[in-house]
Subunit: 386 residues, 2 copies
């Protein structure tokens, strides 16, 4: 609801749909595309003739949900608890989700202070088995930490095993990470990850398609994976048995034209068999963060530096401008020091630094952040009034 | 010298060259192609003007070796100790070595009873690090055993580590294996593999470019690898550090248009780093023998069965005919049983069975050998005099 005073009909309509329609429902996606949000909401509320493409039984199920839906209340509760709702086309909406066509989320619930759109621009998914080995957990954490240190945002599913190790690896290096949940973002799942997911909401972002309080189901985990795949420039599978859910994410990434990568393991390990199957196809074998960045960065990685920052300094949000101003002229600074200079928290500084990274203003090397060469020119130009 | 009574000039000339010229010397290979063996031998013996492409110093080195060379004696000693010498074009010469162009061996010294040409038709190289891990040794032995059980011949370099495990894996399942040495075939190297290499000469083949008694050098190991690559339909690298000699074999295989495969391992293992580098290029990831055969077998794998045996039964060597006759009509038999029926040793039966496998007469499933469907038709036709 960024930038809006009053919830408009489109917004309330999409909040309503996020409560009534299952994530990834392409039939409902087609309704929205063909009739518009308002008309679909009206038909579901008034319970007239079913819209095309569903049985009476399924229509009745949607109707039953529609009767109970209270979008105004959902939105109010969310906002009170620091959760916002993004609609396609919003300033913060990550445009790459539009690649999902009619399976695009009707909206996204978001906890955390960073701009999802900015962060998603330079993000990589690191996913894998829940029941991973120590090797898998080690590789997930090391890769995620290495990606964070190179200024990349690590996206995963918040689950036990590889997902959790990836999130922790990114958090542990003062990095940016996004958890995409298959339930309400106010309802950390699995329960054992409550603390981790709350921590991600502080330093990173917790997002999902389901409205506050909604619970995960097996099929919701599966359809959630398409969001992870679409949001990121590429998906790395760390460990996965044959027929693992992570392979669904990887194949969705392939279909969407994103990079698909796999971390090899012993040929004797059943938890690497799914990854090896991917690697026998079109996926690329990766063994460290540098190899991942080499692939997902390609030309796009260098372009902003060459072209200079993509957004003029004056158009940055005030918080981002303060963080940019707090960066020393030539040397590197740690996020903590930048936060002090910008008179904000370290978590907020991290959010802004990764946004500025996406825009080409700053870069991260290990623990240090510094201005890019292009940004220095633009900052000096700004200061001298040119 | 198969099929010859008296050593002819070409044969003696090539024995001479195998003593005088280093393996893989492309300049000498060009001389042979342009002037013929006889003329090159004459020039080296008579020490006239150097042939083109070498310095006086190098020519003098070759001359010094030429003076000491005694090809007649070399050949006599070899034959006494059960070693034969193959020339390009001989019945037993594996034609695929011709792909090496001017780097083709001038000839090959061979210990063992099987036909190198037949065996090489359906062979795969399994190579890797000398200082391999237990995982590497396990994978090499398992792959080699699985290849042997599918009727494939396992080629390797006789070294410690992966090579030795591959040979043992093939031998252990009553399989066919070829050791390509970088020294005289009568001079097992490494010394700790004397027993293994002698056993390979009994049940399989020990081959090399160097004449009896000659010793290995670092460069001979490297140039030996091109023979392993050229002889086989594909090369599997099991474990290899970056800059390992096995990668030379793999890259030679790639250049020669053979299949190149790698067995993945933990991304944290330096002994898998070289393999992973290959797999990030054009090599195919394999985790078991079935995947190797799927690749190297492709159409060629099925063709003989469909077309029927490639050599008419009457043209088989008497030993192979006896082994073929000893196979039961419909059920499978172990090599031991076939050997009894053919009144020969088990080692000899194994040699013939893998030859017959290459010709499309028989196939192996686990421990059992049986006639192919096409062979049954042809055998019945032969018996009934049609």
């Amino acid at each position: 609801m960024s930038g809006r005073e009053e919830p408009d009909d489109e917004l309330l309509g999409r909040v309503f749909l996020s409560r009534v329609v299952e994530p990834g429902d392409e039939v409902a996606g087609r309704w929205v595309r063909e009739y518009g949000v308002g008309e679909v909401v009206r038909r579901l509320r008034e319970g007239a003739e079913p819209l095309p493409g569903v049985s009476y039984k399924r229509w009745d199920g949607l109707r039953a949900r529609a009767v109970r839906a209270e979008p105004g209340r959902d939105l109010a509760v969310a906002l009170e608890t620091g959760v916002r709702f993004l609609c396609p086309g919003d300033v913060e909406w990550p445009g790459q989700l539009d690649d999902l066509g009619d399976a695009r989320p009707v909206g996204l619930w978001v906890r955390g202070r960073a701009s999802l759109r900015m962060w998603a621009l330079r993000s990589v998914a690191v996913v894998g088995a829940r029941a991973c080995t120590e090797y898998g957990a080690h590789m997930a954490a090391t890769l995620a930490g290495g990606l964070a240190e190179r200024g990349w945002v690590v996206v995963s599913g918040g689950a036990y095993g590889v997902d959790g190790a990836a999130h922790r690896g990114a958090l542990g290096t003062g990095g940016a990470t996004v958890a995409v949940l298959a339930c309400g973002v106010d309802r950390p799942y699995p329960r054992g990850h409550t603390q981790l997911i709350n921590r991600i909401a502080e330093q990173g972002l917790v997002i999902g398609e389901l409205p506050p309080g909604d619970h995960p189901t097996p099929s919701r985990f599966i359809v959630r994976n398409r969001v992870i795949a679409a949001l990121t420039r590429g998906t790395v599978v760390v460990e996965a048995a044959l027929r693992s859910g992570s392979l669904v994410t990887a194949r969705a990434a392939q279909r969407l034209g994103r990079h698909t990568m796999g971390v090899p393991g012993p040929a004797t390990s059943g938890l690497s068999a799914g990854v090896h199957e991917l690697l026998r196809g079109d996926a690329v074998l990766v063994t460290d963060a540098a190899e991942v960045v080499e692939l997902v960065g390609d030309m796009g990685e260098l372009a902003p530096e060459r072209r200079g920052p993509v957004l003029p300094r004056d158009l940055l949000e005030p918080g981002a401008r303060r963080v940019l101003a707090a960066l020393p002229g030539r040397r590197e600074a740690r996020a903590e020091e930048v936060a002090r200079g910008a008179q904000t928290t370290e978590d907020d500084a991290i959010a802004r630094l990764y946004e500025l990274r996406s825009l080409g203003y700053v870069e991260r090397h290990g623990d240090g952040w510094k201005l890019t060469r292009q940004a220095m020119i633009s900052v000096r130009a700004g200061r001298s009034g040119c």
